[in-house]
């Protein structure tokens, strides 16, 4: 069983590596974007899926990472790779400072508090014009080299970040601390009377998540070489991230990544066909997932596909 999974995974990585030699620039970009979401969803899943805290505003760390890389490369001429540890550290610092008070909140309150944090940071970045370029955004130094080379560079960096997040998630799922997080997800009282220092573990989970999402933001900034507060803090990112985690299954290691692949590729195909109503379709897609696939694609269709299962899902949470 484990071996079969491992073989599949190795095949997956080989295909990823071989792909840029056969496909065109447009599809490389689409795939890079897909990996970006794969990384965001996987990194966020440590707090959302594993620990059960719906950190809706987790994209805040994506924005922080993007701006850390942006500011360090433009204002301090730091080479791109050196900025990534700073993305991670900023995420960890912010998550640790906010974690203690905010992770006391539950459910709606926690979800919305993280949105509040995201919006507050966005507004601050928007206003710190000297450092961040403010609302008009920040243009990063463009990478040197042939366009073809740059495409491939990011094609490999982005899945690199995604696989790194995946590895961390895998490790967390295996170690002692992972059991604590899963216990917290189900019942915090029960977890605490079993000796788990819940505030510390929750903060740990959020910090790890923040670091991973922060690094992803840094890579994103360098990839697009232009960032602005309204894109990197919010937009449709939070809800897309959540839909991906739901679609793939938040309690699994690999689910969010698969969810990202499915949703992003569907989005991309829809986007190129119906550019005008893309946003509406995205909204409908999300509503569809919540109504028919709240348990995720794989959990729902474990024993094979059938429409009946979709409708059973629909009935389950009805009033």
């Amino acid at each position: 069983m484990i071996n079969k999974k491992l073989i599949l995974f190795i095949v997956f990585v080989i295909v990823l590596t071989a792909l840029p030699f056969v496909i065109s620039g447009y599809w490389l970009r689409v795939l890079t974007q897909t990996f970006l979401f794969g990384a965001i969803a996987t990194g966020s899943n440590i707090i959302i899926g594993f620990t059960g805290y719906p950190a809706f505003g987790n994209i805040a760390f994506f924005g922080i990472g993007a701006y850390v890389t942006g500011v360090l490369t433009t204002k301090y001429n730091m080479p791109f790779f050196y900025t990534l540890p700073f993305c991670a550290i900023s995420g960890i610092i912010v998550a640790s400072l906010l974690g203690i008070p905010i992770l006391r909140l539950k459910g709606h309150y926690f979800a919305i508090a993280t949105v509040g944090v995201m919006e507050t940071i966005k507004e601050l970045v928007d206003n710190m014009t000297e450092l961040t370029g403010g609302g008009p955004g920040l243009t990063l130094p463009i990478m040197q080299g042939e366009p073809e080379y740059i495409y491939k560079f990011f094609y490999f960096i982005m899945p690199g970040v995604m696989l790194f997040s995946l590895l961390i998630l895998f490790i967390v799922s295996k170690i002692k601390q992972g059991y604590a997080l899963r216990a917290i997800r189900v019942d915090e009282d029960a977890a605490s009377v079993m000796g788990i220092n819940t505030p510390v573990y929750k903060t740990f989970a959020w910090a790890v998540s923040a670091a991973l999402v922060g690094i992803t933001g840094g890579v994103y900034a360098y990839w697009l070489s232009y960032i602005d507060p309204h894109t990197v803090f919010g937009g449709t990112y939070p809800v897309k991230m959540f839909a991906m985690i739901l679609l793939g299954g938040g309690t699994t290691v690999i689910g969010p990544m698969l969810g990202a692949f499915i949703l992003e590729l569907i989005s991309e195909i829809v986007w190129s066909k119906f550019i005008a109503i893309h946003g509406m379709v995205l909204g409908l897609l999300i509503i569809f997932i919540i109504l028919f696939l709240p348990k995720g694609l794989f959990e729902t269709f474990k024993g094979g596909f059938s429409f009946k299962k979709l409708f059973n899902n629909l009935k389950e949470n009805r009033l």
């Binding site: 059991y179 899963r182 189900v186 009282d189 009377v193 079993m194 000796g195 788990i196």
Partner: protein, 245 residues
């Protein structure tokens, strides 16, 4: 030797007084039963010991140390384990993994997975759940989920075990099994406070019984004294029945 002591313990939610002036001691190695009608405050008292809710008044000491300001996980690490009346299995984790959490984070503090697994298997062995170790606890019948609660607590390596109505809702056969298990635990040197709503089961295994009624301790003594106590009969069956006696 006194292991746990409650002195003038009180608890209120807003204006609602749930416990008033509760005093009692538990000696090491004893099984103490706490009984009382529904809503008497038994579970609340247990929540105070495991520090899931704040103590409004009085003090609780464990092994001579005041635990009023401790956190739930600190209490657990000091060697107090508990079960929940409304069972709280960790769904999504297997039965074995559920118990491993106890081994990892309780007083046993298992350092490796191997160690945690062996502690967990032993606990499952004791309560007789070893054959369902790889199942998701959500699919188990209530009696087994209650046993899982006990196994999880045991894997923590407790000195004091708090059992909240582990016998309620069990069949006669299951009840017998559970009683035998509890006595086995006592023989291993674990001190036990067992809450029961039903008197019969607890009478057979307790060294001492404390009776709570409307948040007050109304009686304390050996089981055979308690069954004869007028106040207890009154609390349980209403004053009419008591007068007839």
């Amino acid at each position: 030797m006194v292991i746990l002591e409650a002195k003038n313990v009180a608890k209120s939610y807003g204006g609602l007084k749930v416990l008033t002036d509760v005093n009692f001691e538990v000696n090491k190695g004893e099984i103490v039963g706490i009984i009382g009608p529904n809503g008497a405050g038994k579970t609340t008292f247990m929540n105070l010991i495991s520090r899931l809710t704040s103590i409004t008044g009085g003090i609780i000491t464990y092994k001579g140390e005041i635990i009023n300001d401790k956190k739930p996980h600190e209490i657990a690490r000091m060697g107090i384990a508990r079960t929940f009346q409304v069972v709280k299995p960790f769904g999504g984790l297997t039965v074995l993994e559920n118990v491993m959490v106890g081994a990892f984070y309780g007083k046993n503090n298992a350092k490796s997975k191997k160690e945690a697994i062996s502690i967990a298997e032993e606990a499952l062995q004791i309560v007789g759940l070893i054959d369902v170790r790889d199942k998701d606890p959500r699919v188990l019948p209530l009696a087994k989920r209650k046993k899982l609660e006990v196994a999880r607590a045991l894997a923590m390596g407790p000195e004091l075990l708090l059992l909240d109505e582990v016998m309620a809702g069990l069949s006669v056969k299951e009840l017998d099994e559970m009683m035998t298990e509890i006595i086995k635990l006592k023989q291993k040197g674990i001190t036990i406070i067992a809450i029961e709503h039903v008197m019969k089961a607890i009478m057979g295994i307790s060294d001492r019984i404390v009776v709570l009624h409307l948040g007050k301790k109304i009686a304390e003594g050996k089981p055979e004294e308690i069954v004869k106590n007028q106040d207890v009969i009154e609390a349980y069956l209403g004053s009419k029945y008591a007068k007839k006696e």
